[in-house]
């Protein structure tokens, strides 16, 4: 049983790493700044959740898993605030978002 859980944890961690690489590929492919923010939020959500969940499965229930949950909560609470601050200050810095009609 513990072997099975370890294999599951391994796949979650690999999935999170792949999600991070996909998000960075998206950052490179997107045409303007605001669409790049969407690709970056994949790194912050799917990558973080998958990797931390995989490590949670691997560690079991102890003090380490409580710290892992705290890390996930911090990242999930602070990254939207940072993304919103980036978008707002880019808008104030005269960076117009590219809309659908003007492609």
């Amino acid at each position: 049983m513990s072997e099975f859980i370890n294999v599951l944890a391994y796949f979650f961690v690999i999935g999170g790493a792949v999600a991070i690489v996909i998000g960075l590929i998206g950052v490179y492919r997107m045409p303007d700044f605001f669409t790049r923010l969407h690709a970056a939020s994949i790194v912050d959500t799917l990558g973080t959740i998958f990797i931390i969940f995989g490590l949670l499965l691997y560690s079991g229930i102890n003090l380490v898993s409580a710290k892992l949950i705290l890390i996930m909560l911090f990242v999930l609470i602070t990254t939207p605030a940072a993304a919103h601050a980036l978008a707002k200050s880019a808008l104030h810095g005269n960076l117009r978002p590219m809309l659908d009609g003007e492609k």
Partner: protein, 95 residues
């Protein structure tokens, strides 16, 4: 057991660093540094498990907080020109 995932994350960190160098506007560069910080938090956590020393999680926790504060501070600097002023223009909150 986590070697492959750690390698992928190191590759992602390299991509983020290149983006921070070639980014056209300052916001692209800040976004790249923000991504780099998030990925670094995950890398530190994974590295602790890779070397069987979960004490590294404390460092990851502190790094997550510092990353957020750094992003907000740099954005405030570029929006208002200096760090000391309050975000409200009308309030003269200078020292």
């Amino acid at each position: 057991m986590f070697e492959l995932a750690t390698g992928l994350i190191l590759f992602a960190m390299l991509l983020a660093l290149v983006l921070a160098i070639i980014g056209k506007t300052v916001y692209d560069k800040i976004l790249a540094v923000n991504i780099f910080g998030t990925v670094t938090v995950l890398f530190i956590a994974l590295y602790g498990f890779l070397t069987q020393r979960p004490d590294f999680l404390d460092i990851a926790l502190v790094y997550a907080l510092i990353n957020f504060v750094a992003t907000i501070a740099i954005l405030k600097f570029f929006e208002y020109g200096d760090m000391g002023r309050s975000s409200h223009i009308n309030e003269e909150a200078d020292i």
